[in-house]
Amino acid sequence: MGTLPLSRRRFLAGSGAALAAAARPGAAAAQGRRGEIIAGLSERMLTLDPANHYSISSTSVLRHVYDPLVDVTNDDRFVPALAETWRPLNNTTWRFTLRRGVSFHDGTPFTADSVVFTLKRVRDNTKLIKSFVYQDIEDVQKDGDHAVTVTTKRPFGSLPAHLTMLGMLPPSAGANDEAFFQKPIGTGPFRFGSWTHGDHIDLVASPKYWKPGIPRVEKLTFRFIPELSTRVSALRAGEIHVIDRVWPDMVQTLKGTAGVKVLDTPALEAQRWHFQLARDPVKDLRVRKAISLAIDRNVIIKDLLLGYARPVVCPVPPGLLGHTNLGQKPYDPEKARQLLKQAGASNLSLDFVLMKDLYPKQLEIAQAVAAMLGEVGVKVNIRNLEIATAREQRTAGNYDLFFSGWAQMPHDPDWYFGQWFTKTGAEKLTRFSDPRVEQLIADGRVPDPKVRQQKYEEIDRLLWEEEPEIWPYYTVAIYAISDKLRNFEARRDYYVLLHEVGIA
């Protein structure tokens, strides 16, 4: 609340600028571009380097400054951005043809050199957070100025999907990383204005964006407001135009506010609470099955989340490659008790570890689960720990069940499977190890979507049977916006994308 006076002043200044712009029928009006949008994001942006984060807010903001090669639509289709077409030449070679006539904010043209530079940079500079994904790249060759061939050490079918999260940089960025990211340029619809760490970032429309008519506003500001109630009051007061990560309990209040609209969409995220599979008693499949049977997922969805969640029918959410409907997990406390008896597990006591304040309503849901498991004779100790402490405990294996979600970035389950269900990936997490799953994951890395779908369905079935995780629900993403916004799309991936959005 301490920042309120400042924000109000900035807001007034902003609207003053908008008024001034409206009063002057200059170049901006001629292009049909006017006004300013201010968005309130729940998570602080961490960096201006598109290769050095996996933060959703940073992805949202930086998508406006940099273009990736490939974009992904809200219905999970991969569509051209800076690449016009792409196709696999064989299992380990991808070829991209690039868009012509695109230039960076400083006027230099976008060419194959940018792609070669960006990809080699993220592979070779292993300090970059995204570097691990691109280690499989063998070489990046340009083929003229507008085509690139990427060869990989092993099949890398999810490469186009990963590229949706990697903004293209000009080769000149290589001269001095630090100086470049002080005032970065990309080919995106907005130029970088200024960034006040932890508070807000200002972006200004780029006058010669390659997509005609885009962007539709002169100025874009992202404010970072982690506290939901602060975000909500700023929106209701008209200080900002869009907020993300609204909780179900807030929806009624927001719907009752004049000038505010609430939008929701099934998210790409599944809640999945994982077991420590090397630890007694949950390494016993019967115990895991019993725990799964004892949790009434419908109560969580209907009563605690007020319907803003959906029952899980597959570890991979609907719409994505690798999804298949396996039916809902049943709720049967009686059977759970029998299974526990068979397993000889009486007086069970489980440590349920939570990362403090990370997921909406997590403490409430955990308490509900504790009560449900109490009904079948399992005592649950809720341990709500600081995020870093919780992760340490997970690495050390000091937990039975760990409260966590997984947003299926980048609209492809390869990362999820590779991280959680291969021996090396899960070593310090769940201790999952199953050679069958490992083989299927490796086989599923090829570019052919039909092969991938088939392999992933097999993985889904194995996981569904083994229950290494509890999948309680798919998340629903809720946004609230000012009714002055035009063309806003509630994204399944929690991105707040505003380049095609206008304001009345």
Binding site: V232, D249, M250, L304, L363, A366, Q367, A368, A371, E386
Partner: protein
């Protein structure tokens, strides 16, 4: 005692505290429902006075649990923790203060510098750091709270000892051959009791607040066990649509803090001869 009963502040404070203590002790008898067991169909029912169902005098919380029951059981947690912390802090503080005052010298210097260091730390920050390291068991909480409180006693007792031990009656007792221990127990300690009582009762208020603060931050008693601070924290997210979730425990905390402070003030008026 008679003078105490004639002090309106002391009586008001005492009665307030007594009410809360009795209600908490009798929680199993008074509580209309289980404080921990959720009933999902009955989430966020308003208090009876606001038109809620008659079964829930203070309404229900985000998991459909009876707030009155949680308040009563949560009171037990808050009061027991605060009282134990005060007792522990007072004991430690008195022992250290006596030792420093009587033995003097290096020990005195060391203890008083330690006290200065302790006072230089913001209490809540110290508490957060300690709880983050050792975890939040009730024993750890009491120790953390006591750690934040011993200095007051130590300093007061030490100052008192330094004054009292030079008074004629103490000199006289010594001349008559009383042992050091007898002097301390019979002559010095009883004369420092008044300030200890005063500090204790007003510190009780601080401890309740501190414990609630830690629970609010999620460092205190772990859910689903109720505690006032945790109830406040859980209710915070519902302020816009179910304000009683946070307001009820908030009022309970205020009442106890008010009661303890009034009692402390009254005690001081009565016990401090200078006033």
């Amino acid at each position: 005692m008679k003078r105490l009963l004639r002090s309106p502040t002391a009586v008001t404070g005492g009665v307030l505290l007594l009410l809360v203590v009795v209600a908490s002790v009798a929680a199993p008898l008074l509580a209309p429902a289980d404080p921990v067991k959720p009933s999902f169909g009955r989430r966020l029912q308003p208090p009876r006075l606001l038109g809620g169902a008659s079964a829930y005098a203070l309404g229900t919380d985000n998991l459909g649990r009876d707030i009155l029951a949680r308040l009563l059981y949560g009171g037990r947690v808050s009061l027991v923790l605060a009282a134990s912390a005060v007792a522990l802090a007072a004991t430690a503080g008195v022992v250290v203060g006596l030792a420093a005052g009587i033995l003097g010298g290096r020990l005195d210097d060391f203890v008083m510098r330690l006290a200065d260091v302790q006072l230089a730390f913001p209490v809540i920050m110290l508490a957060i750091a300690i709880v983050a390291v050792v975890g939040s068991s009730p024993a750890a909480l009491v120790s953390v709270l006591a750690l934040s409180g011993w200095v007051l006693y130590a300093r007061t007792v030490r100052a008192n000892v330094l004054t009292i031990r030079r008074l004629e009656y103490v000199e006289a007792a010594r001349t008559l051959g009383a042992s050091e221990l007898r002097v301390i127990l019979r002559h010095i300690l009883p004369n420092t009791l008044a300030p200890i009582l005063v500090i204790g009762s007003s510190q009780f208020a601080t401890m309740v607040l501190l414990e609630s603060g830690l629970s609010f931050l999620g460092l205190g008693i772990q859910p689903p066990q109720p505690s006032w601070g945790a109830m406040l924290a859980e209710g915070r997210d519902y302020l816009s649509n179910a304000w009683w979730l946070a307001t009820v425990p908030g009022m309970a905390i205020s009442l106890v803090v008010l009661g303890a402070n009034l009692l402390g003030d009254g005690l001081r008026d009565v016990l401090d001869p200078r006033l």
